[in-house]
Each structure stands twice: as structure tokens, then as C-alpha cells.
């Protein structure tokens, strides 16, 4: 079909899937069904929103209008009219896989030292499912560049294909892909953009194979074979090479097209030595000295180093040989990658384009706290189109790509192009958000933020903390580094005004992150912002029966190994080891596994199903084995028995399920306290301190003291919008008989049933409602309540509550905050608040065993049986002792 690009007359081809040439920059594509086109456009908008580069408002309105059109022809026309002007060009993928690329006549606007997102229109008449790649000769690396090439290598470009976009083309005739372009200098410059498709039929797992070969040694030597004077084995997901002579080498086969290649080897060399990589091809199947690259491999004090170099294969590559030095010893390789180095060779469609590149202007931050002292805060910077700066998808620590905000301290600088920006400033949930309009012109500019607060718990001695954040795993990247450093985590906790950050090492990146454990507060801490590295048992050891957060460990490794493969499978054994060294231990994301119902304890649930008497499935990794562990006492640091588990985590999973478990075990007389956590960035990547625990201390904040008071329940949990400070209980007939939460074991002793007075200072600030209900909870049921204002400001509240039997009493503003309990002991009797709760727990132990038995192995299975039997007998005894429901 002859193309008449930009021809102002419609040539109508009434064939399904045929193209119509119109006055628009790119020819219109006809015959596309509306549902898949609009669904794709919806995902495209979602992806742009996710990376902080939303479509302009007028385009969003055009697309909204397009979705309302009644016929498919109207929809496809309206979509193309809206999106085509945003495209840098059009790719046509012929039915045989050949690609052509036509650039836009407009000059795309780039940003010096920054990234911009653009659309590419793709016409795919054959419905192919190829991956589409983009490259540019100007994107080749500067290291090793010929002198004449240096000035041309000013651009970088990449295809954005992560969710909600697909890694491959969907097969629809019309599709829009997303690319990002980075520029080094301002001005008007030219560069070529090149596109290529993979073979048809690749699914997302195989995309990489089209342009690179990648060996990762997680589960085997994956084709690498020891050939001379060396032995290969696997250790912690790495290939271990034990060189036994002065000419060791290993080989692997591969299958790659000719051309320039870039090699990346991530390794730990045992000594400084020259390593060599030979390559063999179809025409030359034996290694020789004219087809080898040598590089200096230098040890990096036990850390991984990446060695990167280039070579050119003159014909089809069939193998590589690696010679790891010439001295005996043990080296390790984490991964080897051989990728095509440039967008040349067969199949690439390339075209020169002219770009207009805006200069970036330095913008300084001036951030001051209430006292006028320099501090750190969060900033969300959007331009007039709603695009976020710096571009999210190009962030490395300390900025996280999955957050719109950046954290900047007083005196730091960011670069922005000239324009008008909306800057949202915030310093955690206790501060008042401030939105500024910032106009950046051609001269240096300053963003000034003086933090205003609506509440200051620390002024009353309440120190916020998050008992569960991570420096690696989930939304963090594992490359180029295995997670982020404590310095970055400290920046985020400080920017959220979070006094304590328990940064827990777990499965992903465990062996990298363990270097940060020191057994005390991290050196990067900056009082009163303390970071401490500890452990979450997750992805190893006893994780299957419920994750455990182990705070304040002295030693991060149980005897018998130096990684994560030798840990006990029974949670109780993990707790025995941790408690013996004085750790404070609790669950994580407690509601996981507490969904569903495999049966019920007879009778009605409480209001809003809290408490609920459904027996959950115990099939997840939350507070599952907790139902057993809470009945156990284990030796502490001095050999004296202490509770095996100190707290149940709350505030980051289903709040009703978290509290339901907690209420039932409290009703049985056990006294685990609640902690608040985020599990950042797994349960949420929005920010650290999304779930918090505020702990009352008498003097200066120390991590040890904070942990002790967390264990003692001198605290409340909160999402930061609701605060329940100075909770206390007093016997009305004997005003001197009084206790504050967390003091004297949180116990108020009454000689006989009677009334108590509860006091609290509540502070609430929410934008979605004017008032919330503050409830008094006794043995799991609300018994009194008052509406409190959400306008901020301290509100001193008092309640009178009758106590008929030994009970626990707490306050809540569901789901925002919950106090820890005060235990009111009548006539010295233990709390036996509910037969139904005891039966719920008893049946829970049986159900947990059904779900978790498979997780206990070897000798620990017998230990698990004994631990569960102890729990059964304990709950049966409590059931017998409980007087009522």
C-alpha cells in the first residue's frame, strides 16, 4: 500500500484493518474494535499516572469523550486525534516482522539532565505479539567511546513496558507505546531513534532473550561447565569458582546474532587479577588470542563488583569462555550478561530527529522546623501538565521510583526547567500540608518551607516509630544494588518525622543487607531520628507459619550458618533464640491468613463483626502461629521466663482481622501489646510511617528504652491522623488508685467490682469528616463513646465505666488509632473474659495445625506438636475457668 503521509485528502479504503491517509501527522488506522482500544488507552493513562507524567488535561478530556462515542469508527478516530499529536513517531510492524519508523515533524521537547515520556504510535496489521525495542546510536556509553563519537552520545532512550503496560505488543492493529528520552545538554540537537521488533510470539518471560543472554545462578550452573583447573558449585545464589591451578577456565554455550556486544559480569574476585573472556563463533569454534577481552578484576572488600566491557562478534556467537585469573583461590559470580550494544544490524528501523532541549535551572530548598532549625521534608513537584519531577521511573536512591515525593533537606538542590510548578510540602502526618506555586525562571530559585504542625506528640514525650520497614525487597530494586542503604532509609524516616525506623532485613537481598546490622542504632542516625537494622523472618526459616519481627537483636544470625538457610522452621524456636538475647518480638502484617471461615463459635458477632467468631483459615503469613506462641513463656536474657511474643502488629493489614485476633487472646488473659507498622515498601510503598506506634518515654529517646516501653504497652498505634495520649484509669471510689497505660504493668487492681474513670487526651485531624467516634472497648466490646472533632487541637476526655470482673480496657478511633490496654484486675482474679474467645482460640490452634503442619520439618515437627499441644491445653484450661461470655 502506498503511503501518502500528511496528504490533506482522505483516501478511503473500506477494508477492515486498512489504513486511511488523512491530514493528521500520521495516517489514521481503521477497523479497530472499541473495547480493546479503550482498555489499552486506559492502561496507558494508568502507566503515565504511575510514573508521574499524566496526559495533559485537554487530552484526558478528549479521551473521556472518545469513550462515549457510539460507533467503533468514531472511537478510533477520536483516540487517534487525541494521542497522535503526542507521538514522536509511528512504527509500522509488517506482517513479516519488518519494521519501519516515521518520525514526527514536530520537534519533541526534552529536558537537560532529565527524562521526558513520549508516545509512539504502532500500526500492527498482522496482530503480532512481538516485543518492540527502541535504541539510539547516541545512547551508546561514553566510556570506551571513539573521540569523534563523544559529542553525539548526548541522548538516552528506553521503552517503558512495565505494568500496567505489557512487555509485548497486544496484537491489536493500533497500539500506543511509551518511551522515555533523556538529554545531557540544552539546545537544539539531532539524534536517530531506532526501533526493532523481537520474533513473533515471545511472551513477557522471553523478551530478554531477543537481545541478550543472561545467566543468573539461583538454582544451578545454568550451562556453565568447568573445563580446566577449577570446580564449580553454588553458594547463596552465586556461582562459586574454586581455581585449583594457574590456568582455570569455564565455558558456556550461547546463541546470539553477530555485532557489537556489551558484557556485564557481577563478581567477587578473590584477588586482583586479569580475567579474560574468549568468544567463539559458528565459523571459529575454538578460542584464540585474537578473540578475547581482558579486564582487571579487583576485590572490593567482600562486596560485589560489576565488570563491564565490549567486544564485537564477526559472525554468529556460539560460546564464551571465562578465565578467572591465574592464581588458585575462590571467586564468585552473581550474574553474567551479554547484550547487543547498539541499535544497528538487521531489523532496526532508524530515522534522524531534531530535539529541542530545555535547560535545567538549579532550585534550592530551604526547610525549617518550628524552631527555625534546618530539617528534612517531603516535596511533590508537578509542572502545569501535572508531570512529576524528578521523573519517577529514573530515580535511584535516595529517591524512590514508586513515590511521587522526594525528600530534601535544607540546603539541598534540585534541577527544574523553567516553568510554573505546584509544590506540595509535607513533613509527615503531624504536619500541615502546604501547597506553593513556584515559578522557575532563568535564574536560581529557592523553595522555602517552614513546617507547621497540628499536633506534636513528642512535646508530651510520645515518640513515633514504625516497627517494620525495609531497605530491600518488594518495590525496591535488587539491581544495581540489592536494595538501598541505611542513609536513604534515614532520609525517608526523617522526612516523615518518624523518630524510630526499624529497618528489617529479610529474604530478598539478605546477604547484602546483613552487612548493615551492627546490634545497635545505625551510625547514620541523627537524633532524634534513629534507624536500627534488625530482622524480619520472611522468605526463610519459620516464615510459613507467620512472619516475625525481631527488634533489638544483639546477634542477627542463629548458630549453624551465616545466611538464611539454617534458621529454625518453628516460630517458637525462632522466638526462643531471639528472646534469649533480649529481643522484642512480634508478628508482621497480622491479618494475612486470618481471612475466611472454616467454622464458627456459636453465637452472634460483635458490632461490625468485631469481635468475630468465625474461625479463620490460618493459611497466610500473618499472626498465624501467634495463636500458639502467645501461650508460651521462654527464657529471657537472665534465664527468667518471659512471654515468647511481645506484640501483635497492626495498622497495615485488614484492621478488623488484626484487632479480632488481638481481642480474643486478650480475653483469654494474655497480654501481647499492639505495635504499628507499615511493612514498607511491601504492604505499602506510599511512605514509611504509614502505620505507627507512639511510645511514651520519660527522658531522652533511646532505642532500648523505646523497645522496652513498646513491650510494656506504654503506647498507642495510629496512622498519624489520630492520637490517644495520656490514657489512664482511676478507681472512682479511691482516686489514688490510678494507673497510666504502660506503667506498673498497665494494671489497675480493684478489691471488688466497681466504677473506673478513664482519661485521655485525644487529637484528631481529618479532611474527609468533621468528627469521629472515640470508643471505650472493654473485653472486645464498645461500652461507651463520644464524638470528637477532627479539626485538631487537644481534647481532654473522661469516661466512667463499670467493671464487673477482671477485664482489659482500651480506647479506639476505628480504624485510625487504638490505645494499648489497661488491665483491671478485680479481687486478684486473672482475666477470663469470654468462654467464646477461649473456644475460638482453641479451635484456632487446631486449624493452624492443619494449615501449617507441612511447614515443620524433621525434629522440629515433634517440637511443633508439643508447642501446639501446650497451647491446646492452655486454652482448654482457660475455657474451663472462664465464667461467662
Amino acid at each position: 500500500m502506498k503511503r501518502l503521509k500528511n496528504f490533506p485528502v482522505l483516501i478511503v479504503l473500506l477494508v477492515s484493518g486498512a489504513r486511511l491517509f488523512a491530514a493528521e501527522t500520521f495516517p489514521l488506522i481503521k477497523g479497530v474494535e472499541s473495547q480493546p482500544l479503550l482498555a489499552q488507552v486506559g492502561r496507558l493513562q494508568g502507566a503515565l499516572q504511575f510514573i508521574g507524567q499524566p496526559l495533559p488535561e485537554n487530552v484526558r478530556a478528549q479521551l473521556a469523550s472518545a469513550s462515549q462515542k457510539s460507533s467503533a469508527s468514531e472511537v478510533e478516530l477520536a483516540v487517534q486525534q487525541a494521542l497522535d499529536p503526542l507521538c514522536v513517531g509511528e512504527v509500522i510492524l509488517q506482517t513479516n516482522g519488518a519494521v519501519t519508523f516515521t518520525p514526527s515533524a514536530a520537534e519533541p521537547k526534552l529536558l537537560a539532565q532529565g527524562w521526558r515520556a513520549f508516545l509512539v504510535k504502532v500500526y500492527n496489521p498482522g496482530g503480532r505479539h512481538d516485543a518492540l525495542f527502541v535504541d539510539s546510536p547516541g545512547a551508546r556509553p561514553l566510556p570506551e567511546s571513539p573521540t569523534a563519537e563523544v559529542a553525539k552520545r548526548w541522548i538516552d532512550v528506553e521503552m517503558l513496558d512495565h505494568r500496567p503496560l505489557n512487555a509485548t505488543l497486544s496484537g491489536l492493529a493500533l497500539e500506543y507505546r511509551l518511551i522515555q528520552i533523556w538529554a545531557k545538554f540544552p539546545g537544539t540537537r539531532t539524534a536517530a531513534l531506532a526501533f526493532k521488533s523481537s520474533e513473533s510470539g515471545l511472551n513477557s518471560e522471553r523478551v530478554d532473550e531477543a537481545y541478550k543472554t543472561y545467566w543468573k545462578f539461583d538454582s544451578g550452573t545454568v550451562g556453565w561447565v568447568a573445563k580446566n583447573q577449577c570446580q564449580l558449585s553454588l553458594t547463596n545464589g552465586a556461582l562459586q569458582i574454586e581455581s585449583t591451578g594457574n590456568d582455570p577456565f569455564l565455558q558456556a554455550e550461547l546463541n546470539m546474532s553477530p555485532g557489537a556486544k556489551v558484557v556485564r559480569i557481577r563478581a567477587k574476585a578473590h584477588t586482583e587479577a586479569t580475567w579474560q573472556l574468549f568468544w567463539t563463533t559458528e565459523k571459529r569454534r575454538e578460542p584464540d588470542t585474537s578473540h578475547v577481552v581482558s579486564f582487571l578484576a579487583t576485590p572490593n572488600i567482600g562486596q560485589w563488583s560489576e565488570f563491564k566491557f565490549n567486544f564485537t562478534a564477526e559472525d554468529h556467537l556460539v560460546g564464551v569462555r571465562l578465565d578467572p585469573g591465574m592464581t588458585p583461590g575462590v571467586s564468585e559470580i552473581d550474574s553474567i550478561e551479554i547484550a547487543n550494544a547498539e541499535a544497528t544490524g538487521s531489523g532496526w528501523a532508524s530515522a534522524e530527529m531534531k530535539f529541542k532541549i530545555e535547560p535545567a535551572i538549579p532550585v534550592d530548598f530551604q526547610v525549617r522546623d518550628l524552631a527555625g532549625l534546618p530539617t528534612m521534608a517531603a516535596f511533590v513537584i508537578r509542572d502545569s501538565q501535572g508531570r512529576i519531577y524528578p521523573m519517577q521511573s529514573k530515580r535511584l536512591e535516595p529517591d524512590f521510583y514508586f513515590q511521587p515525593q522526594i525528600y530534601r533537606a535544607d540546603g539541598e538542590t534540585e534541577s527544574l526547567p523553567a516553568g510554573t510548578y505546584t509544590v506540595t510540602c509535607l513533613r509527615g502526618p503531624e504536619s500541615v500540608p502546604e501547597t506553593q506555586t513556584v515559578i522557575v525562571s532563568k535564574t536560581r530559585h529557592t523553595i522555602r518551607y517552614n513546617v507547621q504542625r497540628w499536633v506534636n506528640p513528642m512535646a508530651r514525650g510520645w515518640f513515633s516509630g514504625d516497627s517494620h520497614i525495609h531497605g530491600a525487597g518488594c518495590l525496591h530494586y535488587l539491581k544495581p544494588t540489592e536494595g538501598v542503604t541505611p542513609e536513604s532509609m534515614q532520609r525517608h524516616t526523617m522526612g516523615e518525622d518518624l523518630k524510630i525506623g526499624s529497618s528489617l532485613n529479610w529474604g530478598p537481598g539478605f546477604d547484602f543487607q546483613k552487612q548493615f546490622f551492627c546490634g545497635y542504632v545505625d551510625r547514620v542516625s541523627n537524633y532524634p531520628y534513629l534507624i536500627r537494622q534488625d530482622i524480619e523472618v520472611s522468605g526463610f526459616g519459620s516464615h510459613e507459619s507467620g512472619h516475625l519481627c525481631l527488634l533489638r537483636l544483639k546477634d542477627q544470625m542463629p548458630p549453624g550458618g551465616n545466611s538464611k538457610d539454617h534458621w529454625p522452621k518453628l516460630g517458637m524456636n525462632t522466638l526462643r533464640w531471639a528472646k534469649a538475647q533480649g529481643a522484642v518480638c512480634g508478628t508482621a502484617h497480622s491479618a494475612l491468613g486470618l481471612e475466611g471461615s472454616v467454622g464458627r463459635v456459636a453465637g452472634a458477632d460483635g458490632p461490625n463483626a468485631l469481635p468475630s467468631y468465625d474461625i479463620p483459615r490460618y493459611d497466610g503469613v500473618g499472626a498465624n502461629e501467634f495463636i500458639v506462641d502467645v501461650t508460651h513463656m521462654v527464657p529471657g536474657t537472665d534465664g527468667q521466663l518471659v512471654p515468647a511474643i511481645d506484640f501483635i502488629a497492626t495498622m497495615n493489614s485488614d484492621r478488623r482481622l488484626e484487632l479480632n485476633m488481638w481481642y480474643h487472646v486478650l480475653n483469654c488473659g494474655f497480654r501481647p501489646r499492639a505495635s504499628g507498622e507499615t511493612d514498607f515498601p511491601c504492604m505499602s510503598g506510599a511512605r514509611v510511617g504509614l502505620g505507627r506506634v507512639y511510645v511514651k518515654l520519660d527522658g531522652k529517646l533511646t532505642f532500648d528504652d523505646w523497645c522496652d516501653k513498646l513491650r510494656d504497652g506504654r503506647s498507642y498505634v495510629s496512622d498519624g491522623t489520630s492520637h490517644l495520649m495520656e490514657f489512664s484509669a482511676t478507681e472512682i471510689n479511691m482516686p489514688k488508685n490510678s494507673v497510666a497505660v504502660g506503667e506498673n504493668g498497665s494494671e489497675l487492681r480493684l478489691a471488688q467490682p466497681g466504677k473506673i474513670r478513664l482519661k485521655v487526651i485525644a487529637v484528631e485531624r481529618r479532611l474527609d469528616t468533621n468528627a469521629v467516634m472515640l470508643e471505650v472497648v472493654v473485653n472486645g466490646y464498645p461500652v461507651a463513646s463520644k464524638l470528637i472533632s477532627c479539626q485538631g487541637g487537644e481534647q481532654a476526655l473522661s469516661f466512667e465505666v463499670p467493671i464487673e470482673q477482671s477485664s482489659w480496657v482500651a480506647l479506639r478511633t476505628f480504624p485510625s488509632a487504638h490505645s494499648n490496654p489497661i488491665f483491671v484486675i478485680v479481687d486478684g482474679q486473672p482475666i477470663r473474659a469470654s468462654k467464646r474467645s477461649a473456644e475460638w482460640c482453641l479451635r484456632g490452634v487446631d486449624q493452624c495445625w492443619i494449615s501449617k503442619e507441612h511447614a515443620y520439618l524433621g525434629v522440629e515437627k515433634e517440637q511443633a506438636k508439643a508447642a501446639y499441644e501446650h497451647a491446646r491445653q492452655t486454652y482448654q484450661t482457660i475455657l474451663n475457668e472462664a465464667a461467662s461470655n
Binding site: 474494535e33 472499541s34 473495547q35 480493546p36 482498555a39 489499552q40 492502561r43 494508568g46 504511575f50 469513550s67 457510539s70 467503533a72 472511537v75 512495565h162 505494568r163 500496567p164 505489557n166 497486544s170 496484537g171 491489536l172 511472551n203 513477557s204 518471560e205 514508586f402 525487597g473 518488594c474 518495590l475 529479610w506 529474604g507 530478598p508 520472611s538 522468605g539 526463610f540 516464615h543 510459613e544 512472619h547 502484617h589 491479618a591 494475612l592 491468613g593 481471612e595 475466611g596 483459615r617 493459611d619 497466610g620 503469613v621 493489614s653 485488614d654 482481622l657 511493612d679 515498601p681 511491601c682 504492604m683 505499602s684 510503598g685 494449615s851 507441612h854 511447614a855
Partner: protein, 176 residues
């Protein structure tokens, strides 16, 4: 795709898939029977924190209007969870065809392969899908194992362009 032309064939097909998968599970093989590899439409990864990621598998996403089709889900389970597998169509509404829902999906529950996972590191489950319209349709589908298990950043969702072939008039329509 396991093609079904009648309710009887559907039941036979499901039973066959379940039996082969059950045998696979019992013998601890690392791959299912070769004849079933091409039936995997969803590849699911559950990380130790029970966060679920899903990618598409090699099965061709072809449906026949009004007929249930079975596909396999390959599940790598690092968390050991035994929670039930759940599948959800995220965009069941097709305003232009007026057929709502236009796509149905459910996990096949069988005594030998219950919806609850076994906790093993690798296992397979059977799901079935039915398209109620003809033409090209994009199905946005999420797989998860309960509250809080959906991974952040849309990673437990896949968008698949289904080729929904028109109903064949000489074949019976399978009713749920």
C-alpha cells in the same frame, strides 16, 4: 487451550487436566506433562510476603463465544501460603456491546486440586474462562491469594487480547 464442544467434553477435559496435574504434584516433577505446557495462560509468583505477580504464559488466548475454556496457572509459591487461589476480571463491563459481563473467569475447584494451594514451591491450578461476545476483547485479569496479596504497581494483573470467535451454531451452549 483445551477445546471443548460440549458439557461432557468439558468435564472430561477438566478431569484430564486435573488428573495430570495431580500426578505431577505427587511425583514432584519440575514440569507438568509436556502436552499441558502450552495450556499455561497465567504464570504466577507469590513472594515470601505473599505479594503476587502474574505474567502471561504460552497458551493462545483464543475463546469461543459462550463456551468455557480451561487454562492452567503455573504457581511459584515462595511464601508457603495455603490460601485459596482467586481470579477476578477487572473490566467485565463492555459498554459498546452492552453485554455485561462480557468475560467470566473462575478457578476450577476439584477434590484433587482444590482452590486452596498446597504450600509447595511449584504447583499448577486450573482456571476456566468464558467470553460472551465475539471479536477482539482485552481482558484485564487479576490473580491473588486473598486480602493484601495483590502486589503493588499493578503487578498481579495482566491484560490479554482475547480472540473471541463467534459461537458455533451446531454446538450446544454450555450454561453455568
Amino acid at each position: 487451550m483445551i477445546r471443548l464442544d460440549s458439557k461432557k467434553q468439558f468435564l472430561v477435559s477438566v478431569s484430564r487436566a486435573v488428573f495430570l496435574l495431580f500426578a505431577f504434584a505427587l511425583t514432584g516433577q519440575t514440569q507438568p506433562a509436556s502436552e499441558l505446557r502450552g495450556e499455561v495462560l497465567f504464570q504466577m509468583h507469590i513472594n515470601p510476603e505473599m505479594r503476587v505477580k502474574v505474567t502471561t504464559g504460552p497458551a493462545a488466548p483464543v475463546l469461543i463465544q459462550n463456551e468455557w475454556r480451561t487454562f492452567l496457572v503455573r504457581i511459584e509459591n515462595e511464601s508457603g501460603t495455603t490460601a485459596p487461589l482467586q481470579i477476578t476480571v477487572l473490566n467485565p463491563t463492555d459498554t459498546h456491546s452492552g453485554t455485561n459481563p462480557w468475560l467470566q473467569a473462575e478457578v476450577v475447584n476439584h477434590a484433587m486440586l482444590p482452590v486452596a494451594l498446597s504450600g509447595r514451591p511449584l504447583e499448577y491450578r486450573v482456571v476456566r474462562l468464558r467470553c460472551l461476545v465475539a471479536g477482539q476483547r482485552e481482558g484485564q485479569i487479576s490473580l491473588h491469594v486473598g486480602q493484601g496479596s495483590q502486589d503493588l504497581g499493578f503487578r498481579n494483573e495482566v491484560a490479554i487480547l482475547f480472540q473471541c470467535q463467534p459461537a458455533q451454531t451446531n454446538q450446544s451452549v454450555i450454561q453455568k
